[in-house]
Assembly symmetry: C2
Homo-oligomer: 341 residues x 2
Amino acid sequence: MRKRRSLAMNLDAVAQKAGVSTSTVSRVLNNLEIVKTSTRSRVLKAAEELNYHPNLHARSLARGKSRILGIIVSNMENPFFLDIYRTLESDAHGQGLEVVVANTDYRSEQLLASVQLMIGLRVAGLAVIVSEMEDHLIQTVADSRIPAAFYDVGTPQKNITNIRVDYRKGIKKTVGYLCALGHRRMAFVGHHSTLGPISERRKAFLESVHRCSPSAEAKIFAGPDGLDGGRQAARELLESDFRPTAILCVNDFMAVGVMRELHEEGLQIPKHISVTGFDNIKLAEFCSPPLTTNHIPRDQIGHTIFDHVLGDGREQRDTGREIVIDPELVVRDSTGIAAKN
Amino acid sequence: MRKRRSLAMNLDAVAQKAGVSTSTVSRVLNNLEIVKTSTRSRVLKAAEELNYHPNLHARSLARGKSRILGIIVSNMENPFFLDIYRTLESDAHGQGLEVVVANTDYRSEQLLASVQLMIGLRVAGLAVIVSEMEDHLIQTVADSRIPAAFYDVGTPQKNITNIRVDYRKGIKKTVGYLCALGHRRMAFVGHHSTLGPISERRKAFLESVHRCSPSAEAKIFAGPDGLDGGRQAARELLESDFRPTAILCVNDFMAVGVMRELHEEGLQIPKHISVTGFDNIKLAEFCSPPLTTNHIPRDQIGHTIFDHVLGDGREQRDTGREIVIDPELVVRDSTGIAAKN
DNA sequence: CCAATTTCTGCAAACGCTTGCACGCAGAAC
DNA sequence: GTTCTGCGTGCAAGCGTTTGCAGAAATTGG
């Protein structure tokens, strides 16, 4: 005896109990039609009685593939990512696929571990929803030959499908809207991973403000992603000598944190200062005041990713390299006419 | 040739390239010390060059167990559950375990599928964070012999470890606090799965209100869990003829929804009406007004579960059956003196 | 230089499942 | 009563690892 097995819950046990061979049991459990009805029910009964659950590892190994969709997310706490995750999950379940998620918390070591995990699991498809990823890791995924799609990965890469949001367009629109309301001093609040050296968003913001009026002022602040991060960035802003009449936030989650801090400092929104966000998460309707924001269709993103990885769009996987999604401005009560100086 | 393999990325390939046997490669990859340094580096180099990633299914199969913590959650959207999940995840990673999550969305068919998945994966341990679970499913988990812990599963069961919060105590305290502020008409807002026939919370609420004053009035409302559900319950309340001066919500997430609806109907909090929640999620500090709530230590819950499943507390797994956690009232700005009629 | 250790490596079985192939056996056709 | 179908089942190989055991190689002591 090489090893003590805790419970002998395997095909063999069921086969013996039902008086058939393992092949037959396997066929019954996989709904192959070739099995006689009487044998079939006998097997089913035996499996039931033995409380048998097929070993998914063995199954994947034998089949040479798994029925698992892998999802890597940078920040599950942010409802934006959570929504994408949930869409993916529901699509996957719709196709009878299981889902394995890994959370990276924006930590690159966790990202690496997550990628290894997914490859090790030989997932049938992989969705990567992290804001930033080193090129060599992207390459690792590509080399693994696992059908994959990325959301908004920093630099566009040769061989991969990348879904991204045109933040530039959204920022332009938002700044334009604020400009029309008379705002001439605006701040941008980002989180750390939106601030890489090549940050398109930062540039778009500065350009847009300048286009509003050459004399308009712009400044950029940042904190970690999340409610606290937003609050922290707002505090920095308040402690600086910059007094904007409007603040653009890189996402709604941070915007809520920003609004809280402003509120506690006695600033009224939008009377004293306007605030906008991105994403249009559920919370944007529920905070006070409801947030003016840029709607980004998470469900569309999720469906698109799924389609390119495991769905019907699979065939064009190798052709469609980059899919761009446009945000749409949703005006609520957190923005108004610029306060006079 | 029986089957076309996409990529021959297995131990054999590495072994051949390094000119050793698969056993040696295995030993290197598992950091067994018996390997000579020179061979070791040769193997490592080969693995690197071939872009090799061990097949986790094969590994689990051979080892007869996996290094995976399974987590089943009813509603990832609710920050309360999310926090527990994150604590578990971080504990697991701390021990080099991977994590697989399944979301049930309060749907029992999903719960069943999730349980099957976890058993099929032969997870090393299982945490079940769903508010309600049928007895036979609990039994299935118990029969699987997988170390498991449940959070607040409806009926206490013979053979399992159950961590639960003493909502009764929290509700008593909250009602007492409101009573002292002069409230005599209170509503309770729950979600559907807190309303089973044996609902301890509902009873605790009614009793507590009665204890406050025999003539005090109490009524119960409900919606689905979540922001929208809270709003929906609040709308029902507003459309009824019941005019409470305070509303206790079963969790903060719903409370935020409730507050939003009240606000839009022109009711001021806490001037016209007081609102309380449970959980003390991050958002409770960030909403307007900040929410008076009952703190429930998610991290403690998470750590406790992990400990009982896979951590050091493992030894007592079969002894400690029920662990009770007390909530603690946190007073913020959403509660005040009862409005006079 | 040989024997006795000790260190390192390879062989092969096992993990639990899937699946191509072949075979048994019933009924149909002749 | 043969031969021919073809359905239903079993055999056994293979999926990619781990690991006990035994044997090879290196080291040591005498």
